[in-house]
């Protein structure tokens, strides 16, 4: 018997400006269809989690949110109620870089004696909740989390004490929440991922938040948007990209500016000269 798989398509995609699952990938497939096809390679019990019970054109059985707005933890609770006592593989439908090798690695290294099996986030090392296997014990703990109002999926998974694996492909779970970050994800899909070193200078509010005025970092980013998102996540920087401008090698540049080895980047907070 194969694992139940829950594909999460209930996000609001607010900063993307359109539903992320309907985005068409560089190869012409719709994002949600890409994830459905991946899931079907490993299971014939694939379910779609949505806010409203719609199947987004996939033809999949739907696990509608019992309480729309409760996020991924709420979706897990809804799945637990659908198939009590079953383990679930949970996948975010907005994982643009998710591939078969990553899922194979997760399933091959799964330890059913642990409450969950997941991957380390490549930036902060913490377990990633939206590409993970939740065993029956974990699924039974979800309703407690919901009752306690604990809707942070990362905390829920971390508190389970999961088995946490290194990603075979480091960028496989990279996120994309804005059009610039989507461009970054597609650049990685098209051109692959290679680590490179760049110099970052910090000024004003970002210098204070980082606690450094300069650093050399290794990055997988292909664009300035991807680079800033790595830094923002790793250092918990307080400013989002939409509040900043980019300077690459001393000149203003777009968020889609390429990241090449040896580049110097400055992310410029709102200026206030004069």
């Amino acid at each position: 018997m194969s694992l139940h798989v829950l594909l999460l398509a209930g996000g609001l995609s607010e900063r993307m400006g359109r539903d992320k699952v309907d985005i068409v990938r560089p190869d012409g497939t719709r994002q949600i269809d890409h994830v459905v096809a991946l899931a079907r390679k490993f299971s014939d019990r694939v379910f779609l989690s949505t806010r409203d019970g719609g199947d987004r054109g996939t033809g999949l059985p739907v696990v509608a949110d019992l309480h729309p707005g409760d996020g991924p933890v709420g979706a897990l609770a809804s799945a637990a109620a659908t198939a009590p006592g079953e383990p679930w593989l949970v996948l975010g439908c907005d994982l643009f870089l998710l591939d078969e090798a990553t899922l194979l690695h997760l399933l091959d290294h799964r330890d059913p004696s642990r409450p969950a099996t997941a991957f380390h986030n490549r930036l902060d090392g913490k377990p990633e909740p939206l590409c993970a296997i939740y065993e029956a014990t974990a699924m039974s703990a979800v309703s407690d989390a919901v009752r306690a109002g604990k809707f942070c999926a990362r905390h829920f998974l971390e508190d389970l004490g999961p088995l946490v694996l290194d990603l075979p492909h480091p960028a496989a779970l990279d996120n994309a929440n804005t059009p610039d970050e989507l461009e970054e994800a597609f650049a990685k899909l098209r051109h692959g991922v290679a680590p490179k070193q760049v110099q970052i200078l910090y000024f004003a509010a970002l210098r204070e938040a980082r606690g450094e005025s300069a650093e050399t970092v290794e990055t997988l980013a292909r664009t300035a948007a991807g680079l800033y998102e790595e830094l923002r996540f790793r250092h918990r920087l307080p400013l989002r990209a939409d509040a900043l401008r980019v300077a690459r090698n001393g000149e203003f540049a777009g968020w889609n500016a390429p990241v090449e080895a040896g580049d110097e980047f400055v992310f410029i907070p709102p200026v206030a000269g004069g």
Partner: protein, 147 residues
């Protein structure tokens, strides 16, 4: 000419850079540290710059102004570091044959500078708080400071 200065600005030296016998108009703008900002009492402030890019971007503005207006010379110096109330933060000097172009160019330079040159200002208030101004992203996000 656009320069960042880490030491107090000598206004007369900036003026001297644009003086020219063909010019009947010389407009001088001094930006000074004032003791209030949006209803709050300011004690002092710090200016910080990305010096190399501030000077390259500042010089682009000066070059654009020289093309745009019928002026003879433009010099602009912006201070960085810790400044007290009344200290000179920026000086713009423009000389031209006639006053109108000099006024227009001077205003253009200071307005563009404020909008694009990578210089930041941190204000320290009499109530012991401080903040980076122009930080619109912080507004309304639950930060304690008010802009």
């Amino acid at each position: 000419m656009f320069k960042i200065s880490t030491t107090p600005i000598d206004t007369s030296a900036v003026v001297a850079r644009v003086e020219d016998p063909t010019c009947g108009g010389l407009v001088l703008f001094e930006g000074r540290v004032r003791n209030h900002h949006r209803g709050r009492d300011v004690l002092r402030l710090d200016y910080e710059a990305f010096p190399s890019m501030a000077e390259s971007e500042g010089n682009k503005i000066v070059t654009a102004a020289l093309e745009k207006f019928d002026v003879r010379a433009i010099a602009c110096v912006h201070r960085t570091g810790s400044l007290a109330i009344g200290d000179i933060a920026v000086v713009v000097a423009v000389s031209a044959a006639h006053r109108e172009a000099a006024f227009d160019a001077c205003r253009y330079v200071i307005d563009e500078l404020k909008a694009t040159v990578p210089i930041w200002k941190k204000e320290f208030y009499t109530d012991g708080t401080d903040e980076w101004t122009g930080c619109d992203a912080c507004a309304g996000r639950g930060h304690h400071h008010v802009h």
